[in-house]
Symmetry: C2
Subunit: 268 residues, 2 copies
């Protein structure tokens, strides 16, 4: 296993730079240590960064990868005097895109993640909505929801709802399917008016059993047998109501959200 | 105002590609329409994308920007036969980084946002923790918190906590500072054992007044006078307890989170 340090050096939050850090997962046989350096907006801070780069090179026996987003040309050029593999978002993306668009890019610090950013208020409102409509907490305001997730308890509805709100500004409510619904053999009545925005989640019984056991070890609720029955019944309920669903067993909230966005064709 | 369409075309969730979409905010005089096309993993889907690219070109009177992440070489090359400005994450980042690391990158679909990704379970656990410790909901389990945000009601604690959990896997509790605390002139007793992980948020009175008025218009709670008094008292409490704080008035949750991560020096 090779060791490499990756620095995310930005004059703003460094969030766009770190998002590219996900691409490192294409190289599973390198062990990356990730170091974030947000708000690196003075020469002094650049010099501190250079010291860290040197230390990391010595510690790893190989030069670091530096993913950088610095609007100021002097800071940019100074940093690049270090020996590292640089991925410069300005050089690579922003400046060439400016040529394509025939526009000079803004170079102030922290442009990308300011409150002026696209849809910021929508996202904050969506988070509030989603937290207030978690786990069937209230029946009021569902007409405002853009997506309503349903599924058995602990199948991943909450983190997926939160991700939809935070990332895409989608107002996502979620409703658990519970023994009461299974006995009645129908979705909760309140949902009947909102079938067009309901999306289901399901999960493999073995996984649900493991997840529930972490919380309530040895309970009937967590038993494999009960998990299996709940899942079969929930899937039948959803099938009868004509609801699309996805299996959360081996999918991340990012993957589930992308699927939900695609299937429910919400504008992004 | 120029119009341009930006396509995010990926064989996975498209989340890394869309993160780069933030860089478009460096070009405020272009009006970008953003179109996500996740799970574009067959030739048929590539051909549909090409049709959309052609339509967008006609509609905008200019070729679109395509930010693409496709592992498969045939899909990649086919897409590039369209007339567009391509930003190819493989060509630009992954392949050159492979040369630097002397490793062949994985090219399967959706590598970056699978549940196999770094720290996925930590992030899910952090979200659960954070939602269960929102708004001083419980005093139990605070020793597990990595950050505890405090501040007056509606100053941005909840969305910031959720972002810290979702993005960085930080277990972030939050506690409102309420009239009871102001009368006592001290932080809630339960927090005294956790001073080292407390971070404060504050806000300008005018902004707080506006935010609270949206919820409870005309109330004493929302009055500018009350907002001003609460904020002064809360800042005094925090100052006396030696707590660092940041002003949320014109900062996004991304910016606040980056500041909190930096000041509390939590490992990422």
């Amino acid at each position: 296993m090779l060791n490499r340090t990756v620095f995310f050096i930005s004059d703003g939050t460094g969030i766009t730079a770190s998002a590219l850090g996900k691409l490192l997962e294409h190289f599973p046989s390198t062990n990356f240590t990730q170091v974030r350096m947000p708000f690196t907006d003075t020469l002094d801070k650049i010099k501190l960064a250079q010291v860290s780069i040197l230390h990391a090179t010595e510690a790893n026996g190989g030069r670091p990868v530096v993913i950088m987003s610095l609007g100021d040309m002097e800071l940019r050029n100074t940093l690049k005097q270090s020996n590292a593999y640089f991925i410069d978002l300005f050089n690579t993306f922003i400046d060439p895109l400016g040529l394509e668009l025939d526009q000079k890019p803004l170079t102030g610090a922290g442009i990308a993640h300011s409150v002026m950013g696209t849809k910021y208020n929508d996202r904050m409102e969506a988070i509030n909505f989603t937290l207030n409509h978690d786990d069937g907490m209230t029946n009021s305001g569902l007409e405002e929801a853009q997506v309503i997730l349903i599924g058995v308890s602990r199948c991943g509805k909450t983190p997926t709802s939160v991700y939809l709100a935070m990332q895409f500004g989608i107002k996502a409510a979620n409703y658990p399917l519970i023994p009461e619904d299974f006995e009645r053999g129908a979705l909760p009545a309140i949902l009947h008016n909102h079938l067009d925005k309901i999306f289901g989640l399901t999960i493999k019984p073995e996984r649900l059993h493991a997840v529930r056991n972490e919380r309530r070890s040895g309970s009937f609720y967590a038993s494999l047998d009960n998990c299996r029955k709940e899942i079969i019944t929930a899937e039948n309920l959803m099938r009868n109501a004509g609801i699309t669903w996805a299996d959360s067993t081996s999918r991340s909230v990012e993957e589930l959200s992308a699927i939900i966005m695609e299937r429910t064709r919400k504008p992004t």
